[in-house]
Structure formats: structure tokens, C-alpha cells
């Protein structure tokens, strides 16, 4: 059972940021239930075996006022996928800081190794005014943070340059916590299936 967490402050945004993910789960016969972030309890977390934290709109930062509602992430040992705002929440809970960077639309990003089925060059859909820098957190960066600089010793991989200064795709060094700043529900639907196989 997958727990899908809605962080949208505006009701109408549910259809834009949560429903498309529910549709992907439905189309792949996955069982799930949706909860608003302020409804997540121990019972809710016990009931699920994976969590997806969805994104929200460009101006919706309401969730940053209620980060205490996400402290459970620190001690949670089941797989989590954070998308855009969901990624920012995970970064903040692990001690990261919000930074400003607006990216809207399709961007080519480079993945220096496989990340939930994405590798090399991929065109992804961005919709964010903020991001969290994961470079100093306990996460491995698979895309973003101009990885050529940090991975210049990786031979041919080091020749590929991520255009983005943001952390775009990261995984916790020890836990099954995956985060993407882009919106895979738009063009990378297979990413969800690869996450669900974890």
C-alpha cells in the first residue's frame, strides 16, 4: 500500500499535482491512499510500505511553516519519493536550506549514473522557484549541482555537464529516500514504477 501525501494549500491544485500521480498508480494496478500532510499519523505510516510526497505550485510554500509535521521522515525506514516541494521538505528535514532558483518548462538534465531508470541526457519538466541544496547533506547527487566539478575524476562521465546548479535528483546515502526537483509525472512516468520496485 502506497501513501500519497498531498502538500497543496489550494484545493484546486490537487488535480494538477496529486491526481496525475494517482492516475499513474491506478494505471499500474497499485494500491494507494491519499492523505494531506497534516493528517499523517503513526497509524497512517504503519499502514503503508512506501510514500510519495507530491509537489505543489510555484507560490505555495505553506508547508515550510509546518515542517514539524514531517519529522517522521527522519526515523522512517520505508522507501520515500519526494517530488519538487516534496524534495524540498525532505532536504529541510535533513538540515538543508531553501535557495532561490526559478526553472519553468522543459530542461535537458544529465544523470551521471542510473537514477530510477533515468540516465545520461533527459528532458524533464521543471516548475519551481526554490530548491534545497543537498550537496552538504547525507545524500548522493545523481543529477544537478554541476556534477562535472564534483565528479571530474569519473572519466567519460565527467565530460557531461549538468546545466543546473540545483540538486535535481538525489538519494539518501543509507536509506531508500529518493528526491527529484523536476516533475516526473509529466514525461518520466516510468520513474514511479522503478521507485515502486524498491
Amino acid at each position: 500500500m502506497i501513501l500519497v501525501i498531498n502538500i497543496c494549500n489550494e484545493r484546486l491544485h490537487y488535480l494538477e499535482f496529486v491526481k496525475p500521480i494517482c492516475d499513474i498508480l491506478d494505471n499500474n494496478n497499485q494500491k494507494y491512499f491519499v492523505k494531506s500532510y497534516d493528517e499523517v499519523s503513526k497509524t497512517t505510516l504503519d499502514k503503508c510500505n512506501k510514500v510519495i510526497i507530491c509537489g505543489t505550485s510555484l507560490f505555495d510554500n505553506e508547508f515550510t511553516k509546518y515542517l514539524d509535521k514531517f519529522n517522521w521522515i527522519l526515523n522512517f525506514n520505508k522507501p520515500i519519493l519526494g517530488i519538487c516541494g516534496g524534495m524540498q521538505i525532505i532536504g529541510l528535514v535533513f538540515g538543508g536550506k531553501i535557495r532561490k532558483m526559478t526553472e519553468i518548462g522543459f530542461y535537458s538534465e544529465y544523470f551521471d549514473r542510473d537514477f530510477l531508470g533515468l540516465s545520461e541526457k533527459c528532458e524533464v519538466y521543471h516548475l519551481h522557484n526554490n530548491y534545497v541544496d543537498f550537496s552538504k547533506l547525507a545524500f548522493n547527487i545523481f543529477c544537478g549541482n554541476e556534477f562535472r566539478t564534483s565528479h571530474s575524476d569519473l572519466g567519460y562521465l565527467g565530460k557531461k555537464i549538468s546545466k543546473s546548479k540545483c540538486s535535481q535528483a538525489v538519494k539518501h546515502k543509507e536509506k531508500e529516500i529518493y528526491c527529484v526537483l523536476f516533475h516526473p509525472e509529466v514525461r518520466q512516468k516510468e520513474l514511479f514504477l522503478n521507485f515502486l520496485s524498491k
Binding site: 510555484l58 522557484n129 509529466v186
Partner: protein
């Protein structure tokens, strides 16, 4: 929150407006861009002159802005229209009927972001068949007003898409591989009646 709806008179913007109203938002105005360019990537609406009739039946003010429809410059005209809606009707957000078009959605998102207002795309990534079924279930009377795809001949013009019409359309979509929601411009639609209308629009 008070919203302006980017309104073409077709099924997607009309349904998006209804969803916003159903969710409790106040619709401050409809915003219609009339493009002189029939090939416009952003605005292609053959029945655009009939939008005023729909607005009247919905009892919602209508802002109409004309554009020459030159690529990207038409966005300046769209921004002008949204600025006018903010000034005149105090809207805090814009609703669009975008389903798949990243081109359209991205450009509206950027304008709204610059103007610091919310952008809502309640049909985003929605399955085309589910969308048609929702339109029919919720009593939207939708007709086709232009066709431009193999498998869709002129007999479809003026035809209402009811359950029977949808079955036929779905078969043709599967056979001729066109997008069932017409995201590739395969056809244009016009809403002659909806739960937001006082009565049917006669055209």
C-alpha cells in the same frame, strides 16, 4: 481566492472553469485572446466570436484582447489581458484548460509567476477518455466546430459528442492515431451548454 479563466469557449477551458467553481473558487472574469493568426500555437479558436454568448449565459464578465498571433509576441498580449483582469476584477490566480501542452502551460506559468499570481491547470495530464466521460456525465453539451485530422471528416462539424459520439470518436482515434482530446489540434470544440449556463447558447 478570485480567479480569471483563460477561456476559448471550447471543452477544456469551460470544464476547467466549472471545476474551479465546484471547488468553491469565485470566477472573477473570463479572459479571451482573439488571434488573427489561425496557426497560433497558443490561441486557436474558430468560434471565438461566440464566446460573448457563453459569458452572458454564465453571467461572468469577459475580457477580450486581440493579438496578431505572432509567436511569443502574442504572449505580451496575453500578459496585458491578465494584467487588465488583475486591475479590473482583482483576480489572484488564473485557470487554464491545459492537458498535455507543455508549450502552453509553461508560458502561462511564466506570466503568472512574473505577475505573482497563482496558476491552476486542473486538467493537467488527464486521460482524454476520462475527460470526455466527465464532460458527458456532468452535462456539458460539446460540439465540434472544426476538424483537421485523418478520420475526421466534415460530417463531424456541428455534431454533439454524447456517449454514442464518443464511442465513434474513440474508435477513429484508435484507428487513425489522433489524440482523443485533440491536443494536437485535430479538431476544435465549442460548448453550447454546461452546468454554468443559464440556458443553451444558440449558434
Amino acid at each position: 481566492m478570485k480567479l480569471g479563466v483563460l477561456f476559448s469557449g471550447g471543452k477544456d477551458s469551460a470544464y476547467a472553469a466549472w471545476l474551479a467553481k465546484k471547488e468553491g473558487y469565485k470566477i472573477g472574469c473570463l479572459i479571451t485572446i482573439v488571434s488573427e493568426n489561425k496557426e497560433s500555437y497558443m490561441f486557436h479558436t474558430p468560434f471565438i466570436d461566440k464566446v460573448a454568448l457563453q459569458a452572458k449565459e454564465m453571467e461572468i464578465p469577459l475580457i477580450i484582447v486581440k493579438t496578431k498571433g505572432e509567436k511569443e509576441h502574442e504572449l505580451v498580449d496575453l500578459e496585458k489581458a491578465i494584467k487588465l483582469a488583475i486591475k479590473k476584477y482583482k483576480i489572484n490566480g488564473v485557470v487554464t484548460g491545459a492537458i498535455e501542452s507543455v508549450y502552453q502551460a509553461t508560458r502561462v506559468q511564466k506570466i503568472c509567476n512574473q505577475l505573482k499570481i497563482e496558476c491552476f491547470n486542473p486538467l493537467w495530464q488527464k486521460n482524454a477518455l476520462e475527460h470526455w466521460n466527465d464532460l458527458i456525465k456532468n452535462k456539458f453539451k460539446v460540439i465540434l466546430v472544426s476538424v483537421a485530422a485523418d478520420g475526421l471528416d466534415t460530417k463531424w462539424i456541428g455534431k454533439e459528442i454524447d456517449s454514442k459520439g464518443l464511442d465513434e470518436l474513440t474508435k477513429l482515434s484508435n484507428k487513425y492515431k489522433f489524440h482523443l482530446a485533440f491536443e494536437g489540434g485535430e479538431a476544435e470544440t465549442f460548448v453550447v451548454n454546461s452546468p454554468m449556463f443559464n440556458k443553451e447558447v444558440k449558434i
